[in-house]
Symmetry: C2
Subunit: 313 residues, 2 copies
Amino acid sequence: MNNIQFGPFSGLSLEGRVAVIADEAVAARVGAEFIVPSGEASKTREMKQFLENQLLEKGYGRDTTIVAVGGGVVTDLVGYLASTYMRGVPLILVPTTLLAMVDAAIGGKNGVNTPYGKNTIGTFYPPKTVLIDFEFLDTLLPHEWTNGRAEIIKLGLVWDATLLEGLPIRQAIAAKIEITELDPQEKGLRRLLNFGHTIGHALELSQNYSIAHGKAVAMGCLAESWLSMHLGYLPPSEFARVAELFPARLSFDREKVLQAMRLDKKAINGIPRFVLIDQIGHAVEFDGDYCRTVKEEDLHALFDWMEDSALLT
Amino acid sequence: MNNIQFGPFSGLSLEGRVAVIADEAVAARVGAEFIVPSGEASKTREMKQFLENQLLEKGYGRDTTIVAVGGGVVTDLVGYLASTYMRGVPLILVPTTLLAMVDAAIGGKNGVNTPYGKNTIGTFYPPKTVLIDFEFLDTLLPHEWTNGRAEIIKLGLVWDATLLEGLPIRQAIAAKIEITELDPQEKGLRRLLNFGHTIGHALELSQNYSIAHGKAVAMGCLAESWLSMHLGYLPPSEFARVAELFPARLSFDREKVLQAMRLDKKAINGIPRFVLIDQIGHAVEFDGDYCRTVKEEDLHALFDWMEDSALLT
């Protein structure tokens, strides 16, 4: 499913008609014909339609290969676009941020946000190729390193504790590939990649996507580790080690976060489900579901802790 | 791929959360919660987004089954919606028109129109079930019979001449299933279902979708049969038999139709490709492509004939 190549963008072999769509930050560098404004605000149905119209206006047909160059916003947005343009055209993803390289661009998921939630609308659509060119990391901003690191730590918490040592980019990519190929359609196992994201996405939505995804995921990993401990799965000594990994702070609106979780894609009948861990590097299986419902009273206990915690003010 | 059931709508077995989305003409009859205004003008990205927001507003999650009840507009629109809602939820199609029963609802294709073309944006997304309830045909309007009949005649021209005798609905459904299961992703053979549609879709687009799809397809079948004769594939005696099947008339704008065909999904580098027949009931194979490019001079010859013909004024 994942055809990952490592190498320079200039070495990408392209045949036939090609439409390059890129984040404005890298558009000039790759000679993009179509440009996506930087930032999560571009990940919408409206931006998809705007780009579709530009492609149609210029006569790009089903014989087009679409190349998406940028961070997770661009790979998610353009991946979704490619999956529905003329009912699907070949797609090449070129992730330019750490987060997109280790997470967004791997595994065939895409999507856009709506006022009701993160990645609410989208498809599973494997790209023909994912090209990883580490040269793009040379211009990465500090907060973009933090964003990517949060997803690597998440992988470390649910899958392989050795990922928590240093910044093992290639191993993180390999781990994400392994998990997504074991469960491409997210019937069970792949859900563990959602660790930290039930709370994380809800935090993002509750703040209108004004906070960085990585910061929200970091908060989410810490909160869901606490929940894992509170529900009796994770030993307190292990939780203490997790807490050391996340020094960030964030305030939140409890009601908005609760409301946002009701539309989480794992929710059943509006009751959110959580991935939980029982040790660092291992998620609880729950008969292959890799997530379980959590009562509202336990969520309030979590919010109480989040509000009281010196980590989150 | 196709799980077709025949029987009454009331006998549909539904489990879990269900969202019924129906054409306004049948919404009351099936107790639909969400309503699509009748007519081709509803088959847009904007209407999809409007319906998505309604579903999200009411808290429908990934555990929802979407039931689409209506003609081809509703099965195409809602099929596309279901394929991207929460990255895809189970879909049940209940076609209520002859055209939707024998064509639109069979084979897993969906889509919406844009100002640039018909079904320009969409996906391949097999429904869980297609329920065919012939009771819906009791209230069908005369032009809706004509629409459906055009697709049956098309199947007769490219696949099985016996479909031209009478109005063999079940056999037409079986033929469409057979073709789509031989080539679900439209790599070759399935293209022959596009006979009559290169011209047909272009006629529709050139008139802003103000003419019935079936009328446009009828015109398209006649025009593309003439092209098949003009290019030396179809004997004139066979063409004469085809001409007898289509008594309709239609005026058109040559430049607009030419322009519209450049974005046809079969086009290569903006040059349209056509399915052609060499006898009634048989399409030309062209090394498995089942279509070929046609020079602009031959298209002008076709338009000259269309303008001169007593059939099209």
